[in-house]
């Protein structure tokens, strides 16, 4: 540390020694307070959805006047702890567990931590596992739960969560449910919230908790393959290049954009017919190739009927390099009008 900081240097030195506190006393009585987020650590930090949940938890905690706590379960949690320290979190609890922790193991750890720390609301991000952990832990505590929430609000007078989630089936409805008993367990859909802003002066307490998960079922991992790369049909983000593209260089720009957005790249029938692109199994609208992303970026696409009909769900469509009179503009939320190279270049520059 440089010498010219004066007393500030002294404070900085003191602040640089965060140590996990030991022997944290359990919360006693029936005062359920604070919001606990079940985080997920990666090798380099935390899974982005953890931060999204922290963001929502911070908002709700400020309404309720309580703290935001994050629970990390795993074997190497230092990188995750370091990342969480940059955000508006009050406490991080860490529990040691093997890298592959079955659902019942994670759920029992969560249950024990909830018994010890008594949070009023537990947020878990939605996945098949997240839903199961939520339900398993809630049931062991004898309380209700809600899964797949698209909205989480708090009735601040009752301190009870009001949760909205979409129904499945042929018709789509929104079901609004109110949780009745504390603690409340909610799994929240992914991609709803943005990570909170970093807080340079955040003081995050870190506690290593010792939790007894009880007798666990012998589950043996016989094989593990990483998740398959997303395809045109399964990807969350898709970039499609269309017939307004005039040259191979422009097509290359569209590919670059897909790469920068971490999106799957597809083309329309029109550009293939013009001979600028080949059918490499990525033509949207033929061979039953549908797309159902959350974000669809079209580059030089006019919006022929076969293409429009291949779009499933309700993606956010951004049209680059087309005109407001093109059919795609009727589906699009954002339009970067004008020529393709200028439009793509301006987006690439913004990234």
């Amino acid at each position: 540390m440089s010498d010219d900081l004066g007393l500030a240097g002294l404070y900085a030195t003191m602040a640089d020694a965060p140590r996990p506190a030991a022997n944290l006393e359990d919360v006693r009585g029936n005062d359920w307070r604070n919001i606990l987020v079940l985080g997920r650590a990666t090798k380099t930090g935390v899974y982005p959805e953890t931060l999204a949940l922290v963001s929502r938890a911070r908002f709700l905690a400020d309404e309720l006047g309580c703290r935001v706590e994050v629970l990390l379960i795993g074997s190497s949690l230092d990188a995750a702890t370091a990342e969480l320290k940059r955000y508006p979190i009050d406490t991080v609890y860490r529990v040691a567990a093997p890298d592959y922790a079955p659902i019942d193991h994670t759920a029992r750890i969560l249950e024990q931590v909830v018994r010890k720390r008594k949070p009023e609301l537990v947020l878990v991000f939605q996945s098949r596992t997240g839903d199961a952990v939520t339900a398993y832990a809630a049931n062991r505590l004898g309380v209700g739960f809600a899964t797949g929430a698209s909205k989480v609000e708090m009735d601040t007078s009752e301190r009870k969560a009001v949760v909205t989630h979409e129904s499945g089936g042929q018709a789509r409805f929104q079901v609004v449910s109110a949780l009745q008993v504390l603690p409340q367990f909610v799994s929240v859909q992914r991609g709803l919230f943005r990570a909170p802003l970093e807080t340079p002066d955040a003081t995050v307490r870190v506690h290593d908790l010792s939790v007894e998960a009880g007798r666990l079922a012998p589950i043996e991992v016989l094989g593990h393959k990483p998740a398959p790369t997303p395809t045109l049909e399964t990807a969350d983000r898709v970039v499609v290049a269309g017939a307004r593209i005039q040259s191979a260089a422009e097509l290359d720009l569209a590919r670059q954009l897909a790469q920068r957005l971490d999106a799957v790249f597809g083309v329309t029938v029109g550009i293939v017919e013009r001979g600028l692109a080949k059918d490499e199994g990525n033509v949207v609208g033929v061979h039953d190739h549908h797309v159902a992303p959350r974000l669809l970026v079209t580059v030089g696409v006019r919006g022929a009927l076969d293409f429009l009909e291949a779009i499933e769900g309700n993606p956010l469509v951004c049209a680059i390099g087309c005109e407001a009179t093109d059919p795609i503009a009727k589906r699009a939320a954002y339009l970067v009008a004008g020529e393709v190279p200028a439009g793509v270049a301006s987006v690439l520059k913004g990234l």
Binding site: S177, A178, V221
Partner: protein, 258 residues
């Protein structure tokens, strides 16, 4: 666990779905007048998974907590090749949530067991069943596996394949376990299956515990139509587009992953 040589038994909880146009009444309730109840797609997928064990000689016992039109749902499940059907009656009028259904199914599990596996759907149409089987696993202290696409007997345990966000796993799990079905082609009934389900096989009717079904821990307030998102086209430059997409968490923050 059954003694060596005994037949494997699998409990398959199933759910129903509305077949036809479902509308909302003004009071926020679903108008089901003239709408049929059928076996949900997820339940047909669960039956397809359970039938992988039936091929190894397992007996499939289907259970359905009746919320109206339950017998049709159960007979359809029997038509998929299940051996026995259990209809839990008495929960039609109460507002039971996933926790109460888990308790009800746990009672069936205890009374009609032992079972070597519980195989079922992860979710239901109006989410009343969603989470039920994981809650059941919590109640019965059984291991719970999700996204299962393959199951086979492996010595005294089961060998399963499942998919998650973090990859595909092959696992050996003990018996009994609760398995929630993943992406799988649903099972289809056969002509003889339909015949047997309606003419040959009987249904065992049991009464739900009154106290349990009335003890819902989550109260459904209302059902609404999903509001149509009105998107007026906004003409923007590249930098603004990127800001808009980041604010909706649709693309990565600078230097991060979405």
């Amino acid at each position: 666990m059954p003694p060596s040589g005994a037949r494997l038994r699998v409990l398959v909880p199933v759910t129903g779905a509305f077949h036809g146009k479902v509308r909302l009444k003004r009071n926020g309730l679903v108008d089901t007048e003239g709408v049929e109840r059928i076996l949900s797609r997820e339940s047909a997928q669960a039956l397809a998974l359970a039938k992988q064990l039936a091929a190894e000689g397992a007996e499939l016992v289907v259970v359905h907590v009746d919320k109206g039109g339950g017998e049709e749902v159960l007979r359809e499940a029997l038509a998929h090749g299940a051996d026995q059907g259990v209809l839990v009656e008495g929960a039609e009028k109460s507002e039971s949530d996933a926790s109460t259904r888990a308790t009800t199914i746990a009672e069936v599990y205890k009374q009609m067991g032992p079972f070597d596996a519980v195989i079922g759907p992860a979710r239901s149409e109006f989410a009343g069943f969603t989470g039920t089987l994981a809650a059941l696993a919590g109640q019965l202290e059984l291991p719970c596996l999700v996204g299962v696409s393959r199951v086979a007997v492996d010595g005294v345990g089961l060998r399963i394949a499942y998919q998650s966000l973090f990859g595909d796993y092959d696992l050996r799990v003990p018996r009994p376990s609760v398995l929630l079905v993943g992406d799988l082609e649903p099972s289809h009934p056969t002509a003889w299956g339909i015949h047997d389900a309606h003419r040959v096989k009987g249904i065992l009717r049991v009464k739900a515990d009154n106290y349990t079904v009335q003890k819902a821990l989550t109260k459904r307030q209302r059902i609404e139509n999903v509001p149509q998102e009105s998107r007026s086209l906004e003409s923007v430059d590249g930098a603004t587009l990127v800001r808009r997409l980041r604010s909706r968490s649709l693309i990565a923050e600078k230097g991060g992953s979405p």
